[in-house]
Symmetry: C2
Subunit: 719 residues, 2 copies
């Protein structure tokens, strides 16, 4: 919806990339794959919507059909004209830097402010943004009242306002929807990325979007600003290896963590401001899967699905919470059982007649590990399903509540066993060896599993010729939609497609002939097939999780294993490269996701920070060598002393948290300025409105003559 | 500064309350008293500023001189025309409820929206708001470059932009500045207030402003929603008087406190939204005493004093913090010394030959109490001075940092001794008796001291005839300015006026003849004199402090004294009436103060909430009867068990804090709506601006003819 005030832009810029079939088709921003057996009517109907005018619920996008062999699913390439993209950028309130260097909401009418007199308007929007815009438009094709169901599928009913693309993905008519890589940009990015000392965050953002960029910014900040100094301190502690300095080392650690997390929050807000995402709230436009009755939104006055927040709360606290707590409790019980079994077997093994060998003793922990792995897969599905059912309005809220559920479970599975060793067995050597194993071997294995293995697999399985179209049942739906089904799917479970008759089409059905086809030599067709066969990057969850677990190993137990920071540092230097490689080479290009912060992860890391105070004080308290340094104290006095230290550290943490502002001063000033300007504009607008309405009101205005020239058109615009 | 868009308001409303001397003078919103020996030139100069036009740095207010006898200080009554008040209300961005029931910023041009067709515009602004507006204007009379010093006082130099009224108060030329009570409104309010079950918060706000109203709202909420339920639980616990239920009672207490504070935050935000103060930030207009170089404000573009925030931080953390910590430490040492002296004397007293009587044993604690009282007075001055020197921008920031300093000191003085008794002596009976004394006797004494004593004093000292003008050296400056000197003064120290020759004027000096005099029979003159002699209400600090200390007594030690809530409840029912009476009858009318929350008090109460978890678990842990219930546990195990309970409660507190949103949903939606509308208005304005500038730019616009009618006047307005 461009504002009616934009007559001059067209005079300056030439927007003649036309819809006609002879013009070269602009880059494909989205590839849509249909299942092989979808009825052509449904496809044709969708394509009409995609190309149709907005006034009829269309998206006004450009579509080309890929040349397909009979029996293969139809593949569509979706693009948009440059003008359309810019108009949509304004509608989505994307923020861009103008010529004056100021970050502000892009306005189509101000195009010249952003690209300058000679600037190329093609460069204004990054490919990530274009893909995001096109995907947003596709998701926003909503069912009208005259569309009760998908043509050809009477049973696939839709309510008014439901996202048609989402329904078709849910019903497996669309099997995949993904953006394409940009080989040239990718080459440029990866050359910067693999070997640079610092993460090229801005370049990552331009190519992969804010969510991925923020993860790498965090990883970088954590490695450079926290791990490097603490490694130095840790090495010093190891060199001294005196017990007297150990408490100071721990205190230094926990305070460093607190300060680090506070400073990170500032940095992340700074980035969010520069990226124009800082103003995102839970009242923003709903995510595609959010459902509710279509009603006028109180805030924007637009027709949007509305769902009572109260119901979400009830579902969260009365259903999800008990279920999650029960799961955590069960996981804890299983952990205890495994420990007890191992203990029992160890005792039996001492008796040579029992027939228990030292190999059998390891059985419980092996079984436990396998069990954890399997249960984890199911729990992820459960968490995703529950969060979906809670029906959160925005993607950020959805992610946050899903991450909270998952992290709590991971925490129990990963750290509870270590706590048990530390505080119940009080076996520091065992704890230390466990930590070493985890930090050194497991991290290495992880990296191999993440990057080397898939690479080998692909090299072995891939024939040099362009890949064939994969069977539709193995193609994964993109996970960016956060759909429960998607997520279950991408977790490695195959679609059990609904029982539909598999018809093979001899050629392109007549009803689809109207869709122009891509040039048979167009390389995009090969690219679409090849990238369709690649794995889907599921978002930053797994990457954050890895860092989170490492963070726990390093800081929860720094009192017994000061060298942990060193191993973590070493790992992260590799990890960041592995992650970069993985994103650039192994995965389908992920859809850019706009985020304003690290969401639930900030809280999760803060929780570890708070816990590290408790565990470190606890570890120092139960450490026998340290205890021997103060033989004059009774055991109770000794414990109380550590309790006082712990509470003092907690107080320090609280004070630091309160004293360090969340946003840097300049961001606060800039936001206040924007807020002030907006308020002033609103006041002016209201004053103007008032005057206009008073002009038409019955009570005599008697205005000075200089103010009566306003056109009726302006009235209409302001009301 | 009215916007130029307001031609119609005057046509509808008749604003003819004129400046001429024959018209009745509108109500006096501010009374300004000068010292008896101030040079008439200075007064005349100030009056010119007060009455002068804005274009010359004046305030455009109305002034009348009170009839004074020779030798008495000049007294001025300041008022403003109805139109001026409304214009200033718009400028100060006061929020009012419009006819549609919506709370929004008042706009003079929309007057009709707020008062309706027949509404009386006089009723729109409350007297509290009028007083606030007039005071704001007086404070904002700033020195121009042609005013290097106050006329007649070459040494009293001013920098450009300094508040003249503040300088004159600081230099004791103005001895007092206060608003007048409104007898009729006060009668109405007090009849509602003294005997109603609920606090009439809205009526209080209208008469005394937001700060006082919020205090009473808090007191009411705390009494009704926290103390009443906990009294019931406490009585139940006392009735059962079983040790087994005591831990549950304590857990119930600490969780109730956490929930109460979270819910209060919501309530306070709700009120702030309804009162239109929720948007106040540290970047708002600076308070009068804020100093800095006059520069263009980044946010508003207005000329305002600017002071680097960094310097404030350096002063806070490098100077104030160490000084305050040192003071706290000294206070702690004095407390310890008093305890040790008492212990020593008690031992000596057992020996009849030492000559130490049981009376002498009490000496240390008596001396300690007196010392605390005296040191407290000085510490208040110190804290005010330091906070003033830190140079915070807004009044809220100033208050917050002052309150933090004061509360920390009060905490050490009040509770450290109790902690010592509880955890070092572990003498629960002594603790209990101390608590009972404090809660029952001290609170009663406080109430008597606050209300009964001043009333008696006044009755005895007051002759029934109208009071004489008090000697200028005893007149106190209003404390609302937060000036260090003021505060020192109102703490009971007399002004040591600068050595100036006391000249007695035989009549009104010629230079002041130009100021119109009030009618000799005008009752306001008596009122001004009588109220000038009344005590000054110093803001809500002392009232909150009383509640804070009570809150500490009740919740920090609920494990040993469950009936505390009962006594607190009993006290608060009296306290709220005493406070109401005090405000209505004993004090000068305080200037309304706009606040958005309880500031530092919220954090102070939250800190008590967190500490109550520690102290209650600690008290239960050291309680011998409870210990006897679990003889099978070793002392260390017993301590550890309580530690676990404590940490679990801490975790519950953290989760509750995270899970309960700070603002109710409807407030968030309303704020988001306003924000959205403002942003839309800004977009429109920018789009319009762009079009206008493009029309004048060299590159050919070729606009459709329908859009070229905009007047140049509109251009000017939008740029």
């Amino acid at each position: 919806m461009t504002s009616p005030d934009t007559p001059t832009v067209d005079d300056v810029f030439d927007f003649t990339d036309s819809e006609d079939n002879d013009a070269p088709f602009p880059p494909s921003y989205m590839v849509v794959r249909f299942a092989a057996d979808v009825k052509p009517r449904a496809i044709a109907w969708l394509v009409d919507k995609v190309r149709g005018p907005r006034s009829h619920g269309g998206a006004e996008l450009l579509v080309r059909r890929q040349h397909t062999e009979p029996g293969e699913g139809i593949i569509l390439h979706v693009s948009a004209s440059c003008r359309k993209l810019l108009e949509l950028a304004e509608e989505m309130e994307l923020k861009k830097r103008d010529q004056a260097g100021l970050m502000r909401e892009f306005l189509f009418a101000h195009l010249r402010d952003f690209v300058g007199e000679k600037g190329d308007r093609e460069d204004l929007l990054t490919t990530a943004e274009r893909q995001l815009i096109v995907r947003h438009e596709l998701d926003n094709i909503r069912a009208l009242s005259e569309d009760p169901s998908i043509p050809g599928y009477v049973n696939f009913r839709m309510y008014e306002g439901q996202s048609i693309v989402q329904v078709m993905m849910h019903k497996l008519l669309i099997t995949a929807m993904y953006p394409l890589h940009d080989a040239e940009a990718l080459k440029l990015l990866s050359s910067k990325w693999y070997f640079s000392k610092e993460q090229p965050v801005e370049a990552i953002r331009l190519y992969f979007g804010e969510a991925v960029a923020l993860y790498f910014k965090f990883l970088d900040f954590y490695t450079v600003k926290l791990l490097i100094p603490l490694t130095l301190v840790g090495v010093l502690q190891m060199a001294l290896s005196t017990l007297e300095t150990l408490p100071f080392f721990c205190v230094c650690n926990v305070i460093a963590v607190t300060v680090f997390l506070e400073v990170w929050r500032r940095r992340s807000n700074e980035a969010a401001f520069q990226w124009g995402t800082i103003g995102m709230t839970s009242l923003d436009e709903p995510r595609p899967n959010f459902h509710g009755t279509m009603m006028v939104d109180t805030i924007t006055g637009r027709l949007l699905p509305q769902f009572p927040r109260r119901t979400t709360y009830i579902r969260m606290y009365c259903v999800s919470l008990p279920i999650v707590v029960l799961c955590l409790f069960l996981a804890f019980l299983v952990m205890l059982a495994s420990f007890h079994a191992e203990e029992r077997l160890t005792q039996l093994a001492k008796d040579p007649e029992s027939g228990v060998t030292s190999l059998t003793v390891m059985a419980p922990s092996v079984i436990y590990s396998i069990l954890v792995y399997i249960v984890n897969l199911y729990y992820r599905q459960l968490a995703t399903y529950l969060t979906e059912w809670e029906n959160h309005r925005t993607q950020s809220q959805f992610e946050r509540h899903r991450v909270i559920k998952l992290v709590a479970f991971e925490f129990v599975n990963t750290f509870m066993a270590l706590f048990y060793i530390a505080f119940v067995y009080q076996d520091m050597d065992m704890l230390r060896s466990q930590l070493a194993t985890m930090l050194i071997i497991l991290q290495l294995v992880n990296n191999v599993q993440e990057a080397v293995l898939p690479l080998l697999m692909r090299c072995m399985s891939k024939v040099p010729s362009p890949p064939r179209v994969p069977d539709s049942s193995t193609v994964r739906a993109p996970s960016a939609s956060g759909d429960a089904k998607d997520s279950a799917d991408t977790r490695g479970l195959r679609y059990r497609g609904p029982a539909r008759s598999l018809e093979l089409y001899p050629g392109v059905p007549e009803v689809l002939q109207g869709i122009p086809e891509l040039d048979p030599d167009d390389p995009r067709q090969q690219q679409a097939l090849a990238e369709g066969a690649m794995d889907v990057y599921e978002g930053t969850y797994d990457d954050y999780l890895e860092v989170f677990i490492q963070f726990g190993y390093v800081f929860l137990f720094s009192a017994v294993y000061p060298q942990a920071a060193l191993w973590a540092l070493f790992n992260n230097l590799i990890e960041s490269r592995v992650d970069a490689f993985k994103l650039c080479r192994l995965y389908q290009r992920p859809l850019a996701r706009r985020v304003k912060d690290t969401g639930a992860w900030q809280r999760a890391f803060e929780a570890i920070g708070a816990m590290s105070i408790v565990t470190n004080c606890g570890l120092l308290c139960v450490s026998p060598p340290l205890r021997r340094l103060a033989p004059e104290l009774s055991q109770t006095e000794w414990v109380l002393r550590w309790m006082v230290v712990e509470h003092l550290l907690m107080a320090v943490r609280y004070v630091l948290h309160q004293a360090i502002p969340d946003k840097p001063e300049w961001v606060r000033v800039a936001l206040a300025k924007l807020n002030y300007q907006s308020k002033q504009a609103l006041r002016k607008e209201r004053a103007l409105k008032r005057r206009l309405s008073s002009r038409r009101s019955p009570w005599k205005p008697g205005q000075p003559s200089g103010q009566t020239h306003l056109e009726p058109r302006r009235d209409a615009e302001l009301h």
